[in-house]
């Protein structure tokens, strides 16, 4: 204020950076704009002020510097919205509106440390800006030979004048790019009417827009901007009034808050043979209670409170297949989460919460990851190898020769026809898959344990029982005797992601890891006894 007072006193222009250094010229232009009904911020805008701090001054300061009469302007501001910004830099930039933003954010109860804002303006603002520019060009000539797009935009000015203030209200820093977005959608009831002359001038461009894919919107920001470029000044003047008419209605504004997605990744182990990976619902009816997805996601959803979520994992296992070893990497995409600030400790607490819900599913390495990292998971789904162990049956006992033969197999190429059990929903094809290595261990007379290391996407069950000879070669063919599979476990999914979290810090964590191993063996024993029954 002190600085401004000095500027006021000396009538210096050095606070502002206008097109012209002549104060007299500026005053003339400003007076003309005031006559048309422009607000103080639009005065600065059309004077080419591009220094963001200038827009933080009050209306009064601006008027004082430009030597404008106080009283008359205040009245005109109150009567009608500014014809240039339609009130967006007046009413929608004052403290009353800013407190409404605060209210809205508080009502939605979002958690954030910084924020960004975006504005959707009425389409006709582009036309109004053009009209004012042409009007000034005619009146002041050479000064306004400067391109219209060199002028600061309404959006920029709103952010310059309010960004910091809103930040103070929200106790969050204003950023040009932030995960938390406050979107203001301004609608001006007369917008379409004001654009309608374009329909007569460019009937071809605007008529075909009446389609569903454009949401039946005849005038969009993009097509109006293009039309204005294609139209020269004289043509524009013929079609609409320059300067633009005084707005007869006010803009309305809708505020919506969104937070960009947060990705939570981890690995899960599954110890049940009666648990599907995703909710199993056929024709609206649940086939099986619970699922890996729900067991993992429910506590996460309760914590992050998103509007929606997507669960994805590096491949999937069948209902009756256990997922052992280090587990299978997964990602939960939390869409529009309301809570986002969690420390590593918070995440490990969340992990414990998930693990305490069920013995069937255990999670590890739970962490927040970036969007970019999520691609690793999907890549791994097809390129990485997997290890399995299968309990198998053969019609005759396996001999030492058989075991040696199987152990000698390296990179065996399989031709797998789409298994019958998924043929109804997958393309019928013969796919080539690799079994990198194999080994077997006799369990009893006709039962044996088969360990396999294979390319992702190999159907193990079908390799063992041949799926009516539709997978070749198959285990039966290799052994020359009929084989079948009794149980299957995934031992590892070889994706080095997400990063392992070392739980060796702190006593509590150590105890939780040992608890996990106990759980693991318990679960395995339970499973084995269940298998025998």
């Amino acid at each position: 204020m002190g600085r401004l007072a000095r500027a006021e006193q000396t009538q210096q222009m050095d606070v502002f950076e206008f097109f012209t250094s002549s104060l007299e010229e500026c005053k003339q232009i400003a007076a003309t704009l005031v006559e048309v009904g422009c607000c103080a911020r639009c005065l600065l805008r059309f004077l080419g002020e591009s220094k963001s701090s200038s827009y933080k001054y009050s209306y009064q300061n601006v008027y004082d510097v430009l030597g404008l009469e106080r009283s008359s302007n205040v009245n005109s501001v109150q009567d009608c919205p500014c014809p240039s910004c339609l009130g967006i830099l007046q009413k929608y930039a004052d403290n009353l509106f800013l407190s409404k933003i605060l209210q809205k954010v508080q009502d939605d109860s979002y958690e954030f440390s910084d924020y960004q804002c975006s504005l959707i303006l009425p389409v006709c603002i582009a036309i109004r800006q053009r009209a004012i520019h042409i009007f000034l060009k005619k009146k002041f000539g050479v000064i306004y030979s400067v391109q219209e797009d060199k002028l600061p935009t309404v959006k920029d000015i709103w952010k310059w004048s309010c960004g910091f203030k809103v930040g103070e209200l929200l106790s969050a820093q204003f950023q040009n790019k932030s995960g938390f977005d406050i979107l203001m959608t301004f609608t001006y009831p007369e917008s379409n009417k004001e654009c309608s002359f374009l329909l007569d001038t460019f009937p071809d461009v605007f008529k075909k827009r009446k389609q569903r894919k454009y949401g039946f919107e005849t005038f969009t920001r993009a097509n109006v901007a293009k039309a204005l470029i294609d139209m020269d000044d004289s043509k524009f003047e013929d079609c609409t009034s320059c300067p633009p008419s005084v707005p007869i209605a006010e803009c309305s504004c809708e505020i919506t808050c969104t937070h960009e997605p947060v990705f939570v990744a981890g690995r899960y182990q599954k110890y049940s043979r009666v648990l599907s990976q995703t909710p199993w619902i056929v024709e609206g009816k649940r086939v099986m209670e619970g699922s890996v997805e729900e067991l993992i996601c429910d506590p996460i959803l309760n914590t992050f409170k998103p509007s929606d979520h997507r669960f994805s994992s590096s491949g999937r296992e069948d209902v009756d297949v256990r997922m052992l070893g280090d587990g299978r990497p997964f990602i939960v995409e939390l869409i529009n989460p309301h809570c986002v600030i969690f420390s590593t400790q918070d995440m490990s607490l969340l992990q414990e919460k998930i693990n305490s819900c069920s013995k069937d599913v255990q999670v590890r390495d739970l962490q927040i990851v970036s969007r970019e990292d999520t691609a690793i998971l999907k890549d791994g789904e097809i390129s990485k190898t997997k290890c399995y162990s299968a309990e198998c049956w053969c019609e005759r006992p396996l001999t030492e020769t058989d075991l040696v033969k199987l152990a000698g197999i390296k990179d065996l190429v399989l031709q797998q026809k789409t298994p019958l059990r998924v043929l109804h929903r997958r393309t019928a094809a013969t796919r080539e898959r690799l079994i990198h290595s194999l080994s077997a261990k006799v369990l009893s007379d006709k039962l044996f344990k088969l360990n396999l290391n294979t390319q992702a996407g190999t159907y193990i069950k079908e390799f063992v029982h041949s799926d009516f000879g539709r997978t070749t070669p198959n285990l039966g063919e290799l052994l020359g005797a009929e084989c079948d599979i009794i149980n299957l476990d995934v031992e590892s999914v070889d994706v080095d992601w997400p990063p392992k979290i070392n739980l060796s810090i702190g006593e509590k964590n150590i105890s939780s890891t040992s608890a996990e191993t106990i759980n693991y063996t318990d679960a395995e024993q339970n499973e084995e006894s269940a298998d025998k029954t």
């Binding site: 049956w393 019609e395 026809k417 019958l420 059990r421 998924v422 043929l423 109804h424 929903r425 997958r426 393309t427 019928a428 009893s444 007379d445 006709k446 039962l447 029982h465 041949s466 799926d467 009516f468 000879g469 079948d484 009794i486």
Partner: protein
Amino acid sequence: MEESRPPSVVDRYFQKRYKTDVQGNPGEDQLILTHSNRICVICIAQSHPIICEKKIISKINFQGDGWSRLENTVTGKNKRGAQWLERMAPLCCVTCTDGSVFTLCCCVKGQLVEINTNLETRPSLLTEKSSSNGYLAVILPGLKHFNREVERLKSEEEYRKVLEYRSNKSAFQNLETPQPCGINITSLPLDAVVPEQRVTEQNKCDLQGKQEDNDETMLRDGSLCHNIKKASEVNSL
């Protein structure tokens, strides 16, 4: 426990359904393995003459006059381009070394997803592993048709009764007038032995379903009505 064979793939994933006397040819029974995902695997039944008369197959041909299952092309999840086969559509012709020729049919209405090309190179699979590797073809009935198609086929129990009836009949006939194999079954009430409790719901459905159908099985099934009445008489004897 380890000595006995664990439930097989067929036992675990499929339901066995049968069509007896396909196209009115006595004894020409087919097995249809139905999966809960609608996939139907078409096979021949153990009671089919090819198997029970221990025939040796010389050739299996997946094409005939005006039809070729070899030309079937299927693309995409929706199995575009698949041949749509009616129940009585022929799948293949089996020629045996004794000169007999059998036509095997589709038995369920639906899309032809694949034929078992292994049979062309190893025809013996059909007899050696009739209900697994020796399958004929895979059919996918439409979403709306599947249940009705399955209902129209005989359950294992019903199939067993048919076999029982046949053996009783032939034993009976052998007593009276000894006859060589091929009995003229068409003239006999086929479904005569139907357990009483099954008469109600199941057969009513069957009847309704079959009346919609206009293939030649209708004639035979038309007699089912009074066969049911007879069934109770038979049982009371």
